[in-house]
């Protein structure tokens, strides 16, 4: 119920921001579309912690802050490698996924993909296959620099 309320709040805010016109006819259309979306999401059973994670609050800001710094530096790094300043040494590595929940595994794999220079390819038996463009990037991942960033203690199940 809490999730439904926050989802409808979020959708209404999105609608109001995107429309930019505030008279009765248009607002009522917006209400109708929000209600329809909520109904559809209920039928698809996607209103849960994974679809709408409101329990991830405080620690996420720190995570995003450090991740954006990493994205920035790795962008510059890959750009230099493309321009030929640094060498291109493709690597394929295998990382152990010891995160406790599916959600944090997804965050881990997507964080690896988001930083240019490393892309997750495949998940098999608790191992993540990662393609990196440089040896330094591969060593950094193997040291577990990225794994330490992932917020701890988020489980996909608790209501």
């Amino acid at each position: 119920m809490k999730l439904t309320a926050s989802l409808s709040l979020f959708l209404s805010a999105l609608w109001l921001l995107l429309s930019g016109h505030y008279d009765i006819l248009l607002i009522s259309m917006g209400v109708a579309s929000v209600l329809f979306t909520i109904y559809m999401s209920h039928r698809m059973k996607i209103i849960d912690d994974e679809g709408h994670p409101i329990h991830l609050k405080g620690q996420f800001f720190k995570f995003w802050f450090i991740l954006s710094g990493k994205i920035f530096t790795s962008n510059i790094d890959v750009a230099l490698r493309i321009l030929g300043v640094k060498p291109i040494q493709p690597q394929l590595i295998k990382l152990k996924l010891d995160q406790d929940s599916d959600l944090s595994k997804v965050i881990y794999a997507n964080a690896i993909t988001l930083t240019p220079g490393s892309a997750s390819l495949h998940i098999e038996d608790g191992y993540l296959f990662v393609h990196t463009i440089s040896r330094e990037g591969a060593e950094e991942l193997l040291n577990g620099d990225m794994a330490k960033l992932i917020p701890k203690g988020i489980t996909g199940e608790n209501q």
Binding site: H21, D23, L25, L26
Partner: protein, 186 residues
């Protein structure tokens, strides 16, 4: 100036894309390129000051048409097109005649941005001046489509709906696994 440049570049991209669609024989890539083609067309509409048409083109051409084409490919077994060795004369004839007729038809159109064109002198003024208060819709093109030409749009929607039903009927699968069919097929 910049819109002219964007126009020319987009038209060149369109030409390149059309030739690419002719040359590439992987149907999946062709479907994706058709999506890009209509995205480029939508970009042209945008530069020609018609954001609403661009919106429709993007949603229908890039979104729905691509997904439908991919869904069609998913129920066929072969993703590679057969190469045609010789040109089909009748098809070429029909294409050339249709193209010629269309080119001839453009002579009757008024020039781009012509103030004295019939469409701009009579009804457009009323639409622009009274559109919002008469229909209550802030977007002018939506007002024209959904209110002033409502019956026209109803007819169009009926056509689109019929086409949608046809596509749904064609794509509906009778049995679940189609993968097994590969052994027997071809």
């Amino acid at each position: 100036m910049i819109s002219l440049t964007i126009d020319i570049v987009l038209l060149i991209f369109l030409l390149v894309m059309a030739f690419a669609i002719l040359r590439v024989h992987h149907l999946l890539a062709v479907a994706m390129m058709f999506g890009l083609y209509s995205l480029l067309v939508a970009g042209l509409f945008m530069v020609l000051d018609a954001p609403d048409v661009a919106f429709t083109e993007a949603a229908v051409g890039t979104g729905i048409a691509t997904v439908l084409m991919l869904a069609t490919l998913a129920v066929t077994r072969v993703t590679h097109e057969k190469e045609l060795k010789k040109t089909n004369k009748r098809a070429l004839f029909i294409v050339v005649v249709t193209g010629g007729l269309l080119l001839y038809g453009t002579h009757d159109m008024s020039n781009l941005g012509d103030n004295m064109a019939p469409a701009h002198t009579e009804v457009a003024k009323r639409y622009i001046e009274k559109g919002q208060e008469e229909t209550g819709v802030p977007n002018l093109v939506t007002a024209v489509l959904a209110s002033y030409r409502g019956f026209d749009t109803l007819g169009e929607v009926t056509v689109v709906f019929t086409a949608g039903i046809g596509v749904l009927l064609l794509l509906r699968r009778k049995q679940k696994p189609r993968i097994k069919g590969i052994q027997g097929g071809r």
